[in-house]
Structures are given as C-alpha cells and as structure tokens.
C-alpha cells in the first residue's frame, strides 16, 4: 500500500464515519468497505466494523456540543430537540479542527440561517450568548489593569487615549435578556420564555476566572464597540454622540460612571496614552 492508497483509504473512512445513516443501509458504501476492511471474528462484516466508528463519531460530537449550549437547549425544548438541531448542524458544518472546544463555532449562524429555526429570535439570541461564553472561556489572558492609571492620567491626555479591552470580552446586542435565562437554566430554577427586550451584554472572564454576562446601557455598549475598534476616546465619544443624537457633553458626564463599572468589572486591559 503506497501513499496514494493511504489517501484513498483515509478519504473513504473519513467520509463514511461522518455519514448520518447506517453504513449497511448504503450498498455502495458497504461494498467499498468490503474491499478495504477485513471481516471480524464473531461474524462482524466489514461495514459493521466501520459502523462502530460511525456510531462513535456521532455519540462523541453530540455529547461534546450538548454541554456548550445550555440556554439554546432550554429554548428549543430540551435535549432531544437540541440533538436534532445539532445533528443537522454537524452535517452542514462538520468538525474541521482538532479543537473540540470550537465545535459549535458556526452554530449561531446555522440557527440564524436554517429555515427550521431562523424565525425563532430567542433561539438565535441564546445560541449567540452560549457561544460567547465558550469564546470567553479560553480566550488569552490579559494582565490585570491598574486602576491608579485612571487617577494619574492628566485630563488633557484622555481624548487621545486608546482603551484596550480584555481579550476575553465579547459584546452582544440582543433582542432578549437571555443572560438571565441562562443563569436560571444553569441554576435549575423554573423559568418562562422571556419576552423581547433590547439587551446589550458584555460577556467576559473576570480576574478570578469566572465567566460573567453584564448588561450595560446602549450608549456604553456603543462606546465599548467603538473603543474596541482602536478609536481614541475623544473621537469615540463624538461618534457615539452623533449616532445616538445626544449632546457630547452628556456622554462626557456619564463617562466617569462607565469607567468605574468597566474597571471594577475587569473590562479594561490597558489605557494607552499618546506620547
């Protein structure tokens, strides 16, 4: 068996084990298995031996992704409904990395685009929230921000300052307060489907490595998004004032309170003062 044969064999097995239906139910697949795989003892046919791997593929991946989307699972009505969705998802977006943690990376866009779920906006929000938690879980660490920097920075240096946010921070603008739902689901308390309500969330990992979802007001959310793009603080405040049709003075007045929340919450990694 040469290198080309190894390629041929691995392509066949890799495709076969990702299939949704029993290998034995596809005569062409079973016949190909027959040419490559020896029959087993106790009468196992080649396709039955390959079937062991196919079955494990689905058990392993469904079990893995099950744990990653607790809120979405609840919204869909439980594990069976989630598994139906996850099976379709894994067929459409099979695993492409060694990293099982990334298995659900495309699930939020799958939920948003598949006709069976795309009209369920609560499910779409839940998928985005659950995935944001997954991303924050193992995002790179950031050094702890020293809040004394805030007091020691001259006032005239602030407009040009750039605010770097913690690497784990994710910003989600949603139509439902799904963070409260997620808390309730994880605590096992009885909940009802939440009604629609504009919700702006910061998902992040705090200094003690706990994952948190913090609701912030829409103006603060918009400013965080702008700052994350590398825009200096002064320009960012003006941009937010323009887009929200607010007086820039109002943004400036509220800035102190926001910075307190961001500092205490560990949202900020560094304040870079222009030289």
């Amino acid at each position: 068996m040469g290198e080309r044969d190894l390629v041929h064999l691995q392509r066949f097995v890799s495709d076969a084990v990702r299939g949704v239906t029993l290998i034995g139910s596809d005569p062409a697949l079973a016949a190909q298995a027959e040419t490559l795989i020896s029959p087993g003892r106790c009468g196992m046919a080649p396709h039955e031996r390959l079937e062991v791997y196919r079955e494990q593929f689905w058990l392993r991946h469904l079990a893995s992704i099950d744990e990653d989307f607790p809120t979405l699972t609840w919204v869909l009505g439980g594990r069976d409904a989630f598994r139906e969705l996850a099976t379709g998802y894994l067929r459409a977006c099979p695993p492409r990395t060694w990293d099982l943690q990334r298995l659900g990376a495309d699930l939020p866009s799958y939920v948003a685009s598949d006709v069976r779920w795309s009209d369920d906006f609560l499910a779409r929000d839940a998928a985005r929230l659950d995935w944001a938690f997954m991303e924050a879980f193992d995002a790179p660490d950031s050094p702890a921000f020293d809040p004394r920097v805030l007091a020691s920075t001259p006032e005239d240096a602030w407009p040009a300052a750039r605010i770097d946010l913690h690497a784990s921070l994710r910003l989600l603008s949603l139509g439902h307060p799904v963070h409260e739902l997620r808390d309730a689901v994880r605590e096992g308390t009885a909940v009802e489907r939440p009604g629609a309500a504009p919700t702006h969330l910061v998902i992040h990992r705090d200094a003690a490595c706990f994952l948190r979802a913090v609701a912030v007001e829409s103006l603060a959310f918009e400013l965080l998004e702008t700052l994350r793009g590398g825009v200096p603080l002064g320009e960012a405040c003006e941009a937010v004032a323009r887009s929200s049709q607010r007086d820039p003075m109002e943004i400036g007045e509220r800035l102190g309170g926001w910075f307190q929340q961001w500092t205490a919450g560990g949202f900020i990694r560094e304040v870079r003062i222009a030289p």
């Binding site: 190894l6 390629v7 890799s14 099979p94 060694w98 943690q101 790179p140």
Partner: protein, 291 residues
Amino acid sequence: MGFRERHAIRDLGVGVGFRRPHVVQVLRDRPPMDWFEVISENYFAEGGIQRRNLEELRAAYRVVPHGVSLSIGGAEPLDADYLSRLRALVRSLDAPWCSDHLCWTGFGSFDVHDLLPLPFTQATLDHVVERVKRVQGELGVPFALENASSYMEYRESTMPEEAFLAELSERADCGLLLDVNNVYVSAHNHGFDARAYIDAIPADRVVQMHVAGHADKGAYLLDTHGDHVTAEVWDLYRRALRRCGPTSTLVEWDESIPAWEVLSAEAAQARAVRDEVLATPREEQPWASAT
C-alpha cells in the same frame, strides 16, 4: 544503552488523568497521587480557566501531556500550528516525555476526533517513521506512541500491530506507551493473542503504561475508559510489568467518571499489582538482566 536509560526516563509510579469532576477537589485538597496525565489539546489555549488550573496542578504534581489529535498516521502534512502549541505545553510543564496514539484522526479539512487504525504495511511504516522523527525533533523531549484500541483491520495489512510498533520505535527511535487495556480489547476484537503481543513489544522502549476499563458490546469490546479495570487486564498488566520492570502507569477513567475516592482506589489497586510483581526477586525478572 536502551531508550529509557538514554533519556533518563524515570518511573513516576501510578497516576490518574486530571478530569473536570475532580478539578476542584484535587486543586483544593492536593490528595496523594504520584502524577497526573492531561489531555494535551485541552490546554493549548493561551489563557483561561483550564490553563490556570493546569498551572496550579503543575505546582503540586508531576504532569505528563498525552495527546489525541496529532494524527501521526495522517496522509496529509503534520499541522505546524498544532506542533507549536504542543511544544509550548511540553515546555511549560517541563514534561519528561509526551505521548499520542498510533492512528490518524482526520482527512481533508475534516477532523473526526477518533483514533482511527492504520494499515500495517511497509509503506505506512516509512510514512509514520519520518513523521515521528519530525515530531520528536520539534518537541525536544522523548515522544511515545500508544497502541490504540481498534474495531477494524485492513485487508492490505502485512504485519501485526506489535511488529509494526516494534519496527517503528526502532527506526524512529521513539518510546512506546503500552496501553494494556487496548491490547486486550483489540486482541478480543481481532482474535490475536494478547500475551504474545505484550511479549513482542520492545520492553526498553516502554516509557509508560495505561490500564482502563472497557465495555462488552456483544459482538466486540469497546474501549470506554468507563469502568473498573477487569481481572484479565490486570493479569496482562502483571505480564507487561514483568517484561518492562518499573514503569509509570496511568489509570484512565474518562466516561461515567466516579468520585475521586473510587478513582484513587483504582490507582491504589494498580500500585498493589505493581508492588506484588516488582517484589519478585530481581533474578526472576526478565527486565533485570537488561539493565
């Protein structure tokens, strides 16, 4: 000089895997345990909770990384990013060695996250030897390959797995991780003699052993790591110890993970078996004459 001596491979005693249900208890109480094995890929991230837990674990115990996704037998080039992350992990742990499985795990852009068997041919051997040399060179520590459990064999295979592993380890100059439960499972599934397999493995290259439980699925045995080690596997372990001498041993339990006390008792059982075998006078041990 043999592989273990050349690389100063120490016997770490009996360890267990570092698994989520025990993380809090282990890091808080630091219970007695000779060493821990961690799944390499779970700690490839640059930060986060897992990395922090690993640092705490390393501060208290010897930790050895064990991978499941290197795909040493894959038909496509090795993943440079994966290797670079593995090297960083090995260094951060000051690991005495690093291991993965004799298998392949995906093809094309797909990863099936399983330990798929290879055809045991001369061409496959040439292919894997070159890849093991590269991995070992990049890691800078001894690299050991584990015999995986398997549920199918290929018609093209021209040699038994143990002969493949023996020649591979010799030509690539790598170590072996002898998974005794996997030998038992594969022997049952394919109808070969597990004892003959153990006897054919080059003892001096065995840097580590695994023992674990499996499930009887009727037509085949499944390597679940979800139960106690069976009496038959303990017997094989005794045989492997008699051949290889004192060798770091890991009790694997990854499914239906029990309370720490149950896992710890299983490790104690492994320690008792080791003590019983290794207490036999040295002149009666085959490994004694080789050292």
